[in-house]
Symmetry: C2
Subunit: 477 residues, 2 copies
């Protein structure tokens, strides 16, 4: 890494190449290959989310990747939103198909016709299903690895409830899941926004999304939950029989953590000028052992290092680097790859029954006894995770600004991050103001902060009419 | 389940419906929905295979689902084998694409162009990559849930070595993995065959496959490993520089456990007239607790059962059935779903500090003290797993027959299973004999048994010429 992280866009491209996170040379526009260094982390992230969803009553399922054209067109707003981006399968072998099949851009229209068959009485509710899969969208905007590609990796959870209230409680549960995993375990700060009506998911009543910031101050949407109300249940006949024998339409939500995108936020947030930095539990290699050898002690040190590797491997993902490179070269290499804990061990250490433990985040080195090393590694790993989380949260909190005028917004936007502004409305009538600000300052309106009760007394920054709500503006990916 | 397993085809359709393993009502021919009851097991199976592959040096990666037409056509035999079955994407949104894109029928042609970029020196070898994903093939044969569908779920491991010898060792390692997991942990018996030349994977030098038997005596192919030699490395320029600075083509293998198919073998092999039977580690619900209540003791029993559920949930996947159904109804329901251990608990048991433990495989019931119950469950679970494995292996071994004449083959085939016969050749010149036997007896030649050294002295059952090898015939799925 020769690049300073301050130049984020260059840093991003450089780290992807140097740490071999993504290979852009696949010969299909907008499609990329994700090599092991990134795939291993994404698999760990998948499992963490899956475990949390299952703990909260979701069960896994596999729905087809292909959706018949007529399903996709059943919910009218949904069609408008997704059809322009759909990849269509029209041929099988040498034969033209009678009906085109869509590669799923999202699975509502594959799942809900089945939900309609699965749900009869109230005892079938709530129905909480998730699927880990890819989706495909023919993005026309410029693609960016992990952030916007034509194929991406996500989990989609789809739930049906008997009442609106339960559905709204699910929205809160999804937020808690995001809080627990994204904030707590991955150390990624974010704000929950309720999107303005003009920017919600196609077919939803409301969209709630966790927006983080990238190091350049631009915002990136992470997991979102959509309150679908009864829009889809009416389109797909998802209903149950209530206590009085009457058919009622279900209330639906869906939640979609995009693993590839969250991964982008993860390494962008925590990485530094030397390369990747991972929370301890997400590092593909958690501990690397570097033997410090002289010619005459090589065999003895090697034996000791191999023994240590084996012992630690019972608890952590461990590598030992016996290559012919210099220790300095090895340090750089494994720092680039984001290994949280480095252990150096030479004859002098061995004689003392000790080793040197170095931390990736702070660079601090200290001598540690071999006895009890496992606990030290665990402790330092946990400390690293909370340290990088705190750093990220503190940086993030400095990037939430306020403005109540055009010129104030103009100035605040240049600092990067979010700007809270008084706004006329987050309903459709507010859209022209959002358009105006977008044209003038290249900012997007991300919505109202979830749970924020305060109402503005001033005027809408867009149109000067009395403001009714605080919305947040930011430049976005 | 009203159906006897002896009528296997009916049993198979019935269990899928009753236990809700697969939903055939998705409105796209050849595509099915896999609901939670089966998806949970498949996810466990995925993790077991992934863990084993990683332990043996494979690393995960994600390659695109779509393959440009020109890649797919680079290896000539491979093209012929797969192109007739490919689903083609020809449109994105409203636009016709310039080049059609194939939904991967298998990933050689997506991966190997990248391998060519990733491999430079010998230190980049061996390269061992796996990917868990779906593949799509427009099957024209009749589809059957889990066994043959147009979208299926598998893992594909793709390896590159410097030498032929290492590649052959990988074939053996893959067999060991199959042995360990399929045989050892899933309890599914099989024979390793080296396929005859006319039935190998398109583009391979040799194909080795694990064939099991279904209860009707027909064989089903499970994981196969393909020795690719240098066929693909030459087509895709996968080469490395050796010690003398010379470019050498790599030697390649690939291994493909199809999870959906193995799942079919799993529940078909172990299931019985009452429903599913799962090895302990694969059961979605490992323990179900049935409260035995009378009106006046309901609250107290419920409290005890909830406490027990919580305690056992720290170690196992546990459900408690508090529904209003009768105990008998509940027993049937959970037996149908294959729960290995059932615990019954009423006031009389509680007073004794005990419960009744019933095993799914044998139906045996016995009283067990609550103290130490965790260990009893673990022990009975392990015993169930080895019991159903033994039963399966013993049944299987009775279905491996021999014949050395036309009439002998005719008779043996009717018993179901494999028939070992003397054969002229497993090279291309043997194909007409295989065709003849197929027409006459509806049997397929599955190949030579891996590791079998004995050579026949008699005549080929197909053509009467001197036999050179024993091959195995069987009716197949």
């Amino acid at each position: 890494m020769d690049v300073q992280k301050e130049n984020f866009s260059e840093w991003y491209n450089e780290i992807i190449k140097e740490a071999h996170l993504c290979d852009l040379r696949y010969n299909l526009k907008g499609f990329v290959v994700i090599p092991p260094n990134a795939a291993q982390v994404m698999k760990l992230m998948y499992r963490i989310y899956e475990e949390a969803l299952e703990r909260k009553g979701h069960r896994p399922a596999y729905f087809p990747s292909l959706i018949p054209e007529r399903n996709l067109k059943a919910e009218s707003e949904h069609v408008e939103g997704f059809v322009p981006e759909v990849f269509w399968v029209t041929r099988a072998g040498a034969n033209e198909l009678e009906e085109a099949m869509a590669m799923r851009p999202t699975s509502e229209t594959a799942m809900y016709p089945m939900f309609a068959l699965w749900i009869n009485g109230k005892s079938d509710l709530p129905l909480k299903i998730y699927q880990s899969c890819q989706v495909w969208r023919h993005e026309t905007k410029a693609t960016k690895p992990f952030i916007r590609t034509r194929e991406f990796y996500w989990i989609e959870a789809h739930d049906v409830f008997a009442t609106e209230e339960e559905a709204l409680m699910q929205v809160r549960e999804d937020m808690e899941t995001t809080d627990e995993i994204l904030g707590g375990r991955f150390g990624i700060p974010f704000i929950f926004f309720k999107r303005p009506q003009w920017d919600k998911f196609a077919g939803a009543v409301d969209t709630y999304a966790a927006d983080t910031l990238m190091p350049d101050g631009k915002t990136l949407q992470l997991p979102s939950t959509h309150m679908l109300g009864q829009n889809f249940s009416k389109a797909f006949d998802v209903k149950y029989m209530d206590e009085d024998g009457m058919h009622q339409f279900g209330w639906q939500t869906c939640y979609g953590p995009a693993i590839s995108r969250i991964y982008a936020a993860l390494f962008s947030m925590h990485g530094d000028n030397r390369g990747l930095v991972y929370p301890f539990e997400l590092a593909p290699v958690q501990v690397v052992i570097i033997p410090i050898v002289k010619k005459d002690t090589e065999a003895e040190v090697r034996k000791k290092v191999e023994g240590l590797k084996e012992a630690l491997s019972a608890h952590f993902r461990v590598e030992a680097d016996f290559s012919n490179n210099t220790p300095g070269f090895k340090y750089n290499k494994w720092e680039l790859l984001g290994v949280p804990i480095r252990i150096e061990m030479g004859m002098r250490d061995i004689r003392k029954g000790a080793c040197v433990l170095a931390r990736r985040d702070t660079g601090e080195k200290r001598e540690v006894k071999l006895e009890g090393l496992e606990n030290e590694v665990r402790k330092e790993g946990a400390s690293l995770t909370s340290n990088i989380r705190e750093k990220a949260f503190s940086w993030f909190s400095g990037l939430v600004h306020s403005a109540d005028s055009d010129s104030g917004l103009a100035k605040a936007v240049e600092k990067g991050g979010f700007v809270r502004i008084p706004f006329c409305s987050d309903r459709m009538e507010g859209e022209p103001c959002a358009e105006r600000l977008k044209e003038k300052y290249s900012v997007n309106i991300r919505g109202s902060r979830y749970g924020e009760k305060e109402r503005p007394s001033g005027k809408c920054v867009g149109c000067g009419k009395p403001a009714t709500i605080y919305l947040y503006a930011a430049r976005q990916y």
